[in-house]
Symmetry: D2
Subunit: 331 residues, 4 copies
């Protein structure tokens, strides 16, 4: 296994999870900065004693798969190179998450490898398990889509979403290893800030997944809004759904219980969850409630944005792709 882009939060955690994984062997990590430095020096919490190298697939030798943790547009060419050499790839960027090229280019600019789009499988494990198992290229979902789509999938599949507002809150690890006024503890601490108002790139990703689940309502416009709150890892998507027909509390409960009864990493709970309950785990914890006063259905979806929202979901997908139990190395 290889992690390309191990200097960022997502790549570093992916390297940590692979390093301690009982069945995978992490043989190399690369980075576009900090080269020559060991990962356990850059991230002392992750006891991975490998040196960060410029990416050189020739030097690395044969690998079965790689997790690519590059920014969008930078990821696609590397993914292509990996596939050419017969390796499988999990891409943590947005490059292969949207099946529609035009939508991608509207939000992200020119796509470096549109030819690969057809073979990409969207890596939200619980929704696309079978296709992931046989995929060569998995587009790991964004953290917000992971929380939101897991939270809304049972309603979408039942054709119950007429309108939806998703108000998401996330810790500062979601901003990445980016150093500015946004992430300095003296500005981010004791603060709550909405960001990318009415303009978040995760919106089309959520919409495509919900459309896919509910083809009868093809043009659902999702109101998605992200906020930064002062913690490290943790993400809460609070979803306010206007249903297509009145929903009783029991029906809602049954819908969610049934949808996720056999899922090892989705916990449907009976009280509002806190993100601490899923911190540093691959779990998604869901709570659904019907509001008798407004008639809306409320769903709260808690994940760790770096784990289930990014890197541990990548491992979950790798497990599937290599025929291992899905939970291997993740419990």
């Amino acid at each position: 296994m290889l992690v390309a882009g191990a200097t960022g939060f997502a790549g570093a955690l992916a390297a940590h999870l692979l390093w301690r994984h009982p069945r995978f062997e992490l043989i190399a990590i690369s980075g576009r900065s900090e080269t020559g430095r060991r990962l356990d020096d850059l991230y002392p919490r992750y006891r991975v004693p490998l040196e960060i190298q410029p990416l050189d697939l020739d030097a690395v030798g044969r690998i079965d798969a790689a997790i690519v943790a590059y920014p969008h547009a930078a990821a696609a060419p590397t993914v292509g190179e990996l596939l050419d050499r017969g390796a499988r790839a999990i891409d943590l960027s947005a490059d292969f998450r949207l099946s529609d090229l035009a939508t991608y280019e509207r939000w992200y600019g020119p796509h470096p490898r549109p030819d690969l789009l057809p073979q990409a499988v969207y890596g939200l494990t619980e929704l696309h398990r079978e296709r992931i198992a046989s995929a060569r290229l998995v587009a790991n979902p964004g953290c917000y889509p992971t929380a939101a789509v897991l939270g809304l999938a049972p309603l979408a599949r039942a054709g119950l979403i007429a309108d939806v507002v998703i108000d998401a809150k996330q810790g500062l690890s979601g901003a990445g290893r980016v150093f500015d006024d946004t992430t300095h503890l003296s500005m981010a601490g004791e603060n709550i800030t909405p960001y990318k108002v009415a303009n978040h790139r995760h919106t089309p990703e959520i919409e495509e997944q919900l459309d896919d689940l509910d083809p009868a309502h093809p043009d659902l416009r999702v109101q998605f809004q992200a906020h930064l709150v002062p913690l490290d890892q943790g993400e809460m998507a609070s979803c306010y759904v206007t249903p297509t027909r009145p929903l009783a509390e029991e029906d809602l409960a049954r819908l969610y219980d049934e949808a996720y009864a056999d899922e090892p990493f989705v916990e449907v709970v009976g009280a509002p969850p806190g993100v601490r309950e899923v911190r540093e785990t691959n779990f998604c914890r869901l709570f659904a409630a019907a509001d008798a006063h407004t008639g809306k259905a409320l769903v709260f979806s808690a994940i760790d944005n770096l784990w289930k929202g990014t890197s541990s979901q990548a491992i979950q997908n790798l497990n599937l792709m290599f025929g291992l139990p899905e939970t291997e190395g993740l419990l």
Copy 2:
């Protein structure tokens, strides 16, 4: 001036603000616990060298006004006693916020002094300035209604709200001086939790104010949801409005600019605000945006829940009631 109930966060801050106020004289503070202790011992940040005493209006002697910071139901009888003695009262509890007795009793139980309801004025300064100036009993708003109603008032007054979701986030001071699993730093830290799902007492308060502003849409059902996030003071109300007619960005901007052009404590800003920007101030900072994708109007309203949301708004009201400049002691 007197503060009754100075041991809680709201009462203690009210005492602090009165103590340093250039025109008011704080002569006594009372509490139902911690009696005999000085306030600057209980709250060292507030350098108020008065002793907390059991409430005894005979012993206190003549006072012009009092801020009552008791829990609901406990507040009303004390407010009544103050009015009987000719003092004016600002009640921080919910006892006089709802004009409709039946609504009050559905949410809070029997009302101890329903006879006083007709003379109570709702103390959201920017909306009821004139009536507050001449009131003898002011019902200080809840912190969530303060943020939400200031945020939504321009839209409501223009009859533009067809549907609204209010997702509010608040620091732990909002939980009050309550000691349990919710407020312990080891549980509240690194956490985000929704609470009182589909069942928050501030909902009818917001609805009554919005109905009052927009009598043409009398039955608006507000979807209000509160969350705790790990900071001390600060509150963000993110409001998602389905408008009654399409709204252009410029129209929205003009609506807000005009509504608050002359307000000393409402700042309409051009970018999403953070709650740090209003911490320990009486300001409310508002940002409104039209989402071309969904057609919704988004309003973000940031206040300090303990200041504008509670205690400094009480001072703002007291200033009005005693003919002082509204900003006295608050800038």
Copy 3:
């Protein structure tokens, strides 16, 4: 295995670690409050689906060992009962940490079971490994003594400590599941406070261990001072040693490297560590430096107060007592 006192932070974490341990079976948890509640309800992060019961050793049946997480004085009788039934016990309280009864009673009051003191082994694994392996009663160290004694042991053993100041800082989990002004996020956040000034019960515990290591300087008086800082788990002991003879940087480095070369859980590092680096691990990370300006030796010792400082060290000891690899279930 049994955990007695699973409702507190230490007991709950011990239960979590035993539940997920590959070789031990946790069969019961008890508590003096919250009985009837499941542990995964009280501590949702710990997915331990056992119910908290009043302690009833008859009902529990045969157990090989128990971790007792009661307050001092309450622990000793339960420990005695366990030993009587043939079980081994790890006591997380202070009841058996001090070998001298008079010292114990000066700090803690009457000892309920002084008869058991002679068989108790002090459970600082790295110092007393062999005796722990064959012990029936292990007195798990306090978190501050764990950090401080691991940090100072190489110097003490070499007879190099003439005088020492230990300034320790710890997160709020160190205050335990105690609900008051100290632990409320609105008071503990944005704060730094020294506590138990010149009067901390961990002082005699540290002194006894250092005396034991350096019998030639039997009356060392340790200046130990604790502080609370606003985080959850994590503890830093900063030790300022006046050495008995001048110490060169290289000598100090060699001393520490050699002392801990074979220790699986002590990491001697070349730069000042942060407590994040050991969070939720059983590691102790040490950095030692000679100050040429003052002639003092400085040692910084970082642990997670709940893990190596308490519950995971208990598991480390249990591993030893049952002949398992010391790291089992802890990496």
Copy 4:
């Protein structure tokens, strides 16, 4: 008044304090970056509607005084220019804090304006009040020396310090508006880290001040160590003094009470203070205790590193220099 270097935390706060000061008029702010941006855009909390400009003293016109908030070595030339034009200067950098040029150059490199050293007055208000009042150049102390020297002055003046360890803890604002792994909330949060081990530039500054107070012990070597803890503003200096003769608790208490009886901004308190108690104030809160066990004297000194530790102390000094009450604009 002018603030040169208003883009950093210290300069921005100085500008805020001058802007709201009842007697001073802030007419310009300069910066070496962010020019053209308004300060209330860069720091929304500080409602200072001035534009940051490159420093151009000709354009600014006549000013009575300036606060210079540049890094060391960059500050001295600007200070010189100001003095040449007849303005008085408060320098927040280290350039004029050390009276001994050789010491300065050992720690900071070549001094750009050693000729100005003789006229510089060290701006620890409580120690040098009279000289500050008539000074043209005030070297504002470092935040650590402020806390430490105020804490130790009574003991030093009485010739009581034989040896001292100062263990200081500070929030992230102390790191300044510097963006890196140190200050990102995801690394700084949930962390405690010592930094600049055995090598902090504030050490000679503290030593010079203590020597000055106690000429009989001219070569005191201070063990000073700084730590970062996860908060924004706040600093605690915990001082462990080996006294030159035994000290009784009452003597120590009297010494501190008498030393600071008339100081408006030093509060000697009877219990360990928390830094929250002085946040966003110019107060220094001190607690002294004698440890009967070790014979040491312990002093805990709490300040807000950005206020009394930097910018509000500058205002306190400006008040003195312009014949105003020392507390003007600071209570």
